[in-house]
Symmetry: C2
Subunit: 230 residues, 2 copies
């Protein structure tokens, strides 16, 4: 049994897809970040970074946080959704997983923050992060030209990582962005049609997360606005 600490943001959704694809039994532990539950001392013993997702693998006692760490942990646990064991394939797996982890995710996240949440003046930051988000998605799209999946012919955890953020492309770059990224759109649509993705998307019916981005939510999410340090 896997205990899965989650909300409905892109990173937890990558892990939901992975758990479903692997058919691993899991129990849901919603963490309502707009209510500040990520800062609860009990949760900080699971993930000192105060973010979701995290898992506790009850079979092994392992605690894992960061969505990309969890994808790799679960792939190694099950031996599934990995490329063949070979140094060249391993290099591609690690490189592209990190490309999503350190590039696509952080820059998309900053684009959302500045576009949706930050106050004016913000033109420079919005331009920077929309440019960087678009640049990263264009690299994914180029990679997927002539390849069914990110590592070639096999559906792997890298595609699951890509799926979580590809779902955000219209929100970040506008609906017409898909005309520029046809290969990425093809992968997104193919994965979204899978039963595992449908089950992951249906998690939204399991718990009523706070939806308002009000003062309380902003205080918990954007602590730099009322910092304890500085």
């Amino acid at each position: 049994m896997i205990t899965f600490y989650y909300n409905l943001a892109p990173n937890p959704m990558k892990v939901a897809l992975c758990l479903e694809e692997m058919g691993l039994p899991y129990e849901l532990k919603p963490v309502d970040t707009r209510k500040g539950e990520q800062h609860h001392p009990d949760y900080l013993t699971i993930n000192p970074n105060a973010k979701v997702p995290a898992i506790v693998d009850q079979d092994t006692g392992a605690t894992v946080f960061d969505s990309n760490a969890i994808l790799l942990y679960l792939a190694e646990k099950t031996g599934r959704f990995l490329p063949p064991e070979d140094p060249v394939e391993r290099g591609e797996l690690l490189s592209w997983l990190m490309f999503v982890a350190t590039g696509v995710g952080p820059f998309s996240g900053q684009a959302v923050h500045f576009k949706r949440d930050a106050p004016d003046p913000k033109e420079y930051a919005v331009n920077r992060y929309l440019f960087e988000a678009r640049r990263h998605y264009s690299i994914l799209d180029a990679r997927l030209a002539g390849r069914p999946y990110m590592l070639g012919g096999i559906y792997t955890i890298v595609d699951m990582a890509v799926w979580g953020w590809a779902r955000m492309v219209p929100f970040i770059l506008g609906e017409d962005a898909w005309t520029t990224f046809p290969n990425l759109k093809r992968l997104l649509d193919e994965i979204s049609a899978r039963p595992a993705a449908q089950a992951a998307i249906a998690l939204k019916d399991q718990h009523a997360f706070k939806t308002e981005m009000d003062e309380e939510a902003r205080r918990h999410l954007f602590r730099h606005v009322t910092p304890q340090w500085n």
Copy 2:
């Protein structure tokens, strides 16, 4: 033989330390990002993300980009600087490596960009990224209280990843930041005194990288200011 594409920034320095610690033979390929060499078509076939570091492992034919991917690849290649094989330890390794990869690195990088390179008005973004950088370093410091290394008693690739960014703390947060992070400072000093770190630091004498942050450098590094897209 490892071909090592590098400059003197924190992420390539992590890999330089790792190559030296492992005693792997490597050949240097400087990539002068202030001259735009990261955008050269030949280099993009190595790293389509147009960043350093990247390696080509001539023994296996593997190409690996992203510093954290390279650390994990080299640790698995050599079987060194990893915790014991055990799911709990593997979970900690992956979690903390990703904490550096997706948190410490990106937020420190954005802090440097806004503090040093971005034009005014930038107060909100500077505050955001200095807060987030400080928050991440405080989590590393708390983790290192009562533990010699990030994963406990053993020096691993996670410590090498931390070292690269811990060297930047005074530049990002000011010299007095070390009074707040004594455990992180202890680890930094211990690793910096190792012969491998001394050899990594001495790479600065191997190639004359462009040092001026002039218009040419800004054009190559901050392409969102004169975007091709948008």
